[in-house]
């Protein structure tokens, strides 16, 4: 019994080397990319421990605010009200764009369309179109597989289209679950980060090209050149937010992302390097 208490005490005392561990949180879109980067980073700086958690972009920013993360990955810009929370707490933050992402709209390859207009997409996501008939001639209900409200992707799509999602949109835990669902559901439509569709997303899926009044030529999110030219409608920078005060601690990791090796990893994971 006595040594139990002693052991407990020892445990409390042995909390140290906080400086050597970096906690990265947030953005389901960026998490797998961050894992791959951290794996390579370990080879260069094995003394620094990097732990990564996913969730949504909101999770990352909230964790940064709550002090449980050192770097907040976010696939969207920080919101005004979030910024206010940081100011209220007197925390100064900086950001770093380490890659670009394009959001892909995915459907089953059994549906006979390859591209879709922004207007139709908005109508579907708002819930005005609830059947594929008007668009494809096939009489099937439209099932929307979206993300949860904390997701940066969710926010991004919502804001760029200027809509509110229909409450019938299913809120999936992550990009991967959306793909799984659409693979099984031949009348589904969903959106994921482009990193999820480039490699081994499996068969049965189709990535929609997007066109709008300004760009009548449909652009695929997998088209590297068009993205480099900034021509895809749903493309966005991927952010990493951090507290200004802890910059020195996380600098080695950010530096590694900027190296050629880092950018190569980003590219091979299906994202687009910073220009």
């Amino acid at each position: 019994m006595k040594w139990c208490f002693a052991g407990l005490l020892l445990l409390f005392v042995s909390c140290s080397n906080d400086e050597k561990s970096i906690k990265i949180k947030g953005s389901d879109t960026e998490v797998n990319l961050a894992v791959v980067v951290a794996e390579s980073f370990h080879i260069h700086k094995p003394e620094i421990s990097v732990s990564i958690s996913g969730g949504g972009s909101g999770l990352g920013i909230a964790s940064l605010l709550n002090g449980t993360a050192d770097i907040a990955n976010s696939s969207r810009r920080i919101k005004e009200e979030e910024m206010q929370l940081f100011q209220k707490k007197g925390i100064r933050i900086d950001s770093f764009v380490f890659a670009q992402d394009a959001i892909a709209f995915v459907i089953s390859d059994e549906l006979p369309i390859d591209s879709i207009s922004i207007q139709h997409l908005s109508a579907i996501l708002k819930g005005s179109y609830r059947n594929w008939k008007a668009l494809t001639g096939i009489d099937k209900p439209i099932n929307i597989y979206g993300r949860q409200s904390n997701s940066g992707t969710y926010d991004f799509v919502k804001e760029i289209l200027g809509i509110e999602f229909t409450p019938y949109a299913k809120q999936m835990n992550g990009n991967a679950q959306i793909l799984e669902a659409i693979k099984a559901d031949h009348s589904g439509i969903g959106y994921v980060g482009s990193g999820y569709v480039t490699k081994d997303s499996g068969n049965g899926l189709k990535v929609l090209s997007i066109y709008s009044d300004n760009h009548p030529h449909a652009v695929s999110p997998l088209n590297r050149e068009m993205i480099a030219a900034g021509k895809y409608y749903f493309q966005r920078p991927l952010f990493q937010y951090y507290k200004s005060s802890s910059f020195l601690k996380i600098k080695p990791f950010l530096d590694f992302e900027k190296t050629k090796e880092g950018q190569l990893i980003i590219q091979s994971s299906g994202y687009y390097p910073i220009l």
């Binding site: 139990c4 409390f12 561990s21 951290a38 990564i52 835990n173």
Partner: protein, 281 residues
């Protein structure tokens, strides 16, 4: 004739139910082991995940679960056993003690995620332990306390009063009686309860979700204020969060096999202790 049909119907009802329940376990174990056993190898349990967690092993998750269980044990066992000793050996039997006892029993039925909330509010925030093995371990410790208190009290209750009187009459103090007779004699019972509780804690996911578990960590968790990977969360992550779920499905199955084997081993150890103790008596 009608009676006979009723007979057969009843028999089928009861036997059928039992067969279905047995089948549940059979299907669960068959599915997981038939698809997962081939993924499990020495390198699977001794290597880090690689290539964006699509290859490699689950070593950090095993180490994380191990560390977590140690923190849980060091917190829950001394406090739980002490509390049980207080309730059973010292506290006067009154309405208040009975209410406390009933509350503790009922706390064992509180959803585990609520312990997670409390752990977040208390350890992560108020006590500033951050998201870490320590916070998560203590949270699981809280979750384990009611079980440990209840099972320990049951073990203490099985010690007949005549055992206590034997030493008391020799001039031993109450503490000496507890130390020299009550605890040694109830040890197997306490141990069984503790191991069963820990096996439950090791398989828990909800309470560690926001108290310290990480998706991935590129070194082994070496200090208590670091985040960690854990087997049950790893399985959750691989089956719902990973970007190529199909590719990592064998890893998910392999992780389930390791997790279930771990939990079953702890259960078997506990049952063995109980069995051996019972036959000795």
């Amino acid at each position: 004739m009608k009676k006979k049909i009723l007979y057969i119907f009843n028999w089928i009802l009861l036997t059928g139910s039992t067969v279905i329940v047995t089948l549940f376990l059979g299907v669960i174990l068959f599915d997981i082991f038939s698809k997962g056993l081939s993924s499990v190898s020495w390198s699977f349990i001794s290597k880090f995940p690689g290539n964006g967690m699509t290859t490699g092993g689950i070593l950090p998750a095993i180490i994380g679960t191990f560390l977590l269980t140690i923190v849980t044990t060091l917190f829950a066992v001394p406090f739980g056993v002490t509390c049980a000793i207080y309730l059973n050996e010292y506290a006067k039997p009154s309405l208040l003690t009975n209410i406390i006892r009933a509350s503790i029993r009922n706390l064992a039925g509180i959803p585990s995620i609520i312990y997670g909330l409390f752990g977040l509010a208390l350890f992560v925030q108020s006590l500033r332990m951050g998201t870490s093995v320590l916070s998560a371990g203590l949270t699981l410790g809280l979750l384990s306390l009611p079980y440990i208190i209840t099972t320990t009290e049951e073990a203490l209750k099985r010690i007949p009063n005549s055992m206590r009187e034997a030493t008391l009459a020799l001039g031993a103090t109450q503490f000496e009686t507890i130390r020299d007779v009550v605890l040694p004699k109830s040890l197997p019972g306490i141990l069984t309860g503790v191991i069963l509780t820990l096996s439950r804690a090791a398989g828990e996911t909800a309470p560690i979700l926001f108290t310290g578990v990480a998706f991935y960590i590129n070194t082994l968790t070496a200090s208590l204020n670091q985040e960690f990977m854990a087997l049950p969360y790893h399985l959750y992550m691989l089956s719902t969060q990973h970007n190529s779920i199909e590719t990592v499905r064998p890893l998910a199955y392999g992780t389930s096999v390791v997790l279930i084997l771990l939990v079953f081993t702890m259960n078997i150890v506990a049952f063995y202790i109980r069995f051996k103790h019972r036959t000795q008596e």
